[in-house]
Symmetry: D2
């Protein structure tokens, strides 16, 4: 992570300022507010604002006048009911805002989630930092033959070293050429007063997709859960999953009841198709069922057996 | 407005509870938090939560690490620039949540704004209050022949009295029949234990469109400005405009710089078509221009003259 | 259903006009295009336009240049894979537009689905038809004590007759007073030239929630599936379910492969929480498990047993 | 533009297939359907499907049963009225789907428009083409001192040559290293069977932002107009403007009345703030007004004078 002393100082100043508010306030999230949690080699996630708490979900579901006086137990039960039955609108009543620093190729996956508000640092008007994501050696992998979506045999030895060298050299060279074309250093001063510079909006195209960008990203809790269900999942690419997991920590501090319900009914849940369910019913009744004649494809059968803990 | 003693008490309890927060806080909005502003005869608007302030708009536009140290003057200039050039994403970084009580026919207009989060009091599971919107006599109007969208000659005397009687009697009778069909009083106790009741989800269909409903409604500042630009406008129906104006007051307390920019560049602004602009250019150059031969329809010409303060 | 001879004629004219197109075309859906399928006592659903077909889903998933030349079998497999793994964006590439006539209280449930385009017949500018939804006797029901969300014991005999009389009389009286206040007949002619009329935007508030409105409603296939998964479900209120089922028929004509995948993996599927799954694993392994000590609440246990076909 | 013979063949096959439809059909758009319009050096835009036409806008605004029988003149007047008064929902009733090939840095600007459906060619699972955007010499520019958002003095001579060389060499080298790390050629065959390859999802990060990607992009006409109003504008970066202009051509073939209204009331229109309007009123009345004392900042004053055709 690459916070400059000045940035760290700005964060400390923000953390030092408190005010009295009548709004729902969550001490556990206040404790981490503004602080940057490191992700990958130069990235971070930090919560910069939030609205609502577990009780606000309940309050909206009941359209009530006050904060409600029910027992925590009743609130928990209602939140779990809402999550289980996919009543999404009460969760939309909580909102959170993050400041994220992330590689551009991760930003391109992330931005596909459309129901969020985004302000990205603009490489059209500004100069990006000289920082690139270089994977840790243990995250290099050969593409698996079985599952082209995951990573298989880990690259190592000279092959891994060659890959890391290429990534580092290409990113660095391209960045340096970017500055040369701009004819500005990273403070905006001309490198060579006798030359023109290329417009920033054009020079940026020489950067590599592992260059870091940053943005403010704000979303409601329902859409955040949707994001996390896809990106904190084992099928997600490691790099975006690392961000999702850091965000999950902040969600657990913020809305512990909703986060637990999310873990039980979404993250850890499985969905069985009509055909799969019929097979499960037969198995529960003690019947032996084989893939052949089950009506499931081999792939679906394997997914079912995995879910039932019967994969070999 | 019809807050019960119990509701008023819940609001007072909520107002009495304060906590320390590191989040951006706006004292002028805190002062009105949770309090119900009366709208129409039984409705209200009240702010129940908010996120962000004027500085948060600036902070997001700059993707900065801290709260920023610029002069208020610079922040104001940037906010006005963003508003003038329709850079909408920084305004999306502020969020507000309202609790609103409103007639169903107003709710039906309102809900057409899709970029908001809503939790409505459910007449499928709950019993609505015995309250109906009856216009004040000065708001009754005959539909104008010139502009079928507004209201023209005001109904008065016996005609007005007849209209108000009909509205009151029909709404009341239908509500009482609703309770009779439910066979429940408004506390849910059976009115006549020897009878079944009709399901709430069906009985509600006997209610009139001036019955009151209520909801939690949450949106970001950009979308709120869009809502206000349409609903605080003179062309909007009076009843929804009354809500928009009450909300505008809370926006001015919350984000005074953004609200002023909105008034100047949106609410009070006019848009001229390419053809209108060409005519304005000729007029500014001292030329006399008449509708005939201007290329504008009579309707557009009248709109242009009105905008230029030259309507008769 | 209440199509006038003139409306029926307009539909026939539209059905009679054909043109040549290079676009994907679905004969089975063309056959029903523009025709109104009756729903409830005066409502209908009719498809007025569509874009795409099963192959367009595949084409978008592959970002291909032509229509693709794969075997139907491969396309089917890909569509089922996409549905199973909730890859939603390829389904968003198909779009359908409906014209729907429906009671206002149904419209209010429906409009909560925000990711659609809507143009509603405006009671602010137009006069609504003299038609109200009156449930068929077999759809009247007392609210169940067990499940307040469904309907329990059916109202019948004199109780049912009384309910139907009230609904019919109140709706009719209120409609007639609506016309009287407007001082217009349903063709817009003054009923009494010596009187003013009330503005349409106000008079409409005297109508009941079972009055019929109509709209054009357009959405993409992914969002339509989401709508159908909630509204064609047994927990949905009968009246909106009747519309969802009529729409499901058009979807099956339009995109048969996607519709079948939707039935298998969404409509007929069940989701088990992490805790439920652990119990299913134990049961499949031959273990006897009881609610007590299972970690599930009684309610969740009953849901699980129902799903496994072991409810009593 | 880089269509392979096979791709060209697929397009020709698609163009050759026609079917009869009852849907609204636009011959002028049919004529260009599927054909790729070249944009930049290797990109293109092509329309792959559409729904609706000018009459469909009118039909939705009127919620009518048939195609309507009004004179073209009346339809035109209604469409212009809807555009002028920002009644956006009828325009949402038309939908269009494009296949676009574009540089990644352009895609990153484009995707910020969230109200569209997108399927992008996945560099996680596929291998990108060996194509990069290299600006034509006349589009290189130094960043203007006056307006940092546009381009000022054009780079030329040896400076320009150096920039183009760097862009070309860096993109090419990085692409070749991408293939080397993958250890696959662009057909997916191993380059060196004795080595592992890096997973595609990781190797792609070595690519530069001027590499080309492609996607299917589908949106409704209202949102397309919003996109075009921002991206066909003189303030937009040249590269995305080139796409917007190619799309504008297809819109004019598709919905000529709506496109003309868009040109008059949006693209060619100006918005004056309340303060600007007051000054225009004074100027139209013959008064001399100077920036000093006008209440406008110098920047706003210049914008106003430019709009009035009085810039020096």
């Amino acid at each position: 992570m690459a916070l400059t002393a000045e940035q760290q100082q700005e964060i400390e100043v923000a953390r030092g300022a408190t005010a009295a508010t009548r709004r729902p306030t969550v001490p556990a999230l206040e404790a981490m507010l503004f602080q940057a949690t490191p992700v990958l080699d130069h990235g971070f996630v930090r919560v910069v604002d939030y609205m609502g708490d577990d009780a606000a979900i309940v309050q909206a579901a009941r359209v009530s006048y006050g904060r409600g006086t029910r027992a925590a137990n009743e609130d928990r039960g209602l939140i779990r009911y809402l999550m289980r039955h996919r009543h999404s609108t009460p969760f939309e009543m909580c909102e959170i805002k993050y400041h994220v620093k992330l590689p551009i190729f991760v930003a391109r996956q992330w931005i596909r989630h459309r129901t969020a508000n985004v302000n990205e640092y603009s490489a059209r008007y500004s100069i990006l930092d000289r920082e690139f994501y270089i994977p840790a050696p243990e995250h290099l992998a050969a593409q698996s033959a079985v599952n082209r979506q995951g990573r298989g045999a880990v690259l190592d030895g000279p092959e891994a070293a060659r890959v890391l060298d290429l990534l580092r050299e290409d990113a660095t060279r391209n960045y340096d050429h970017y500055l040369e074309m701009l004819n500005e250093d990273d403070q905006g001063s001309p490198l060579d007063p006798s030359r023109h510079g290329l417009a920033r909006e054009l020079a940026r195209m020489n950067l590599t997709l592992n260059a870091y960008t940053q943005w403010y990203w704000k979303t409601d809790l329902h859409n955040l859960f949707h994001f996390l269900s896809l990106r904190a999942d084992a099928h997600a690419q490691y790099e975006i999953r690392a961000y999702a997991e850091a965000m999950m920590t902040s969600v657990e501090a913020w809305v512990p009841m909703a986060a637990a319900a999310f873990r039980d009914y979404r993250l850890g849940a499985v969905t069985f198709s009509a055909q799969m369910l019929a097979i499960v019913q037969r198995m529960v009744a003690g019947e032996q069922v084989a893939q052949e004649g089950s009506g499931l494809s081999k792939r679906e059968w394997r997914e079912l057996m995995d879910a039932l803990g019967r994969g070999e």
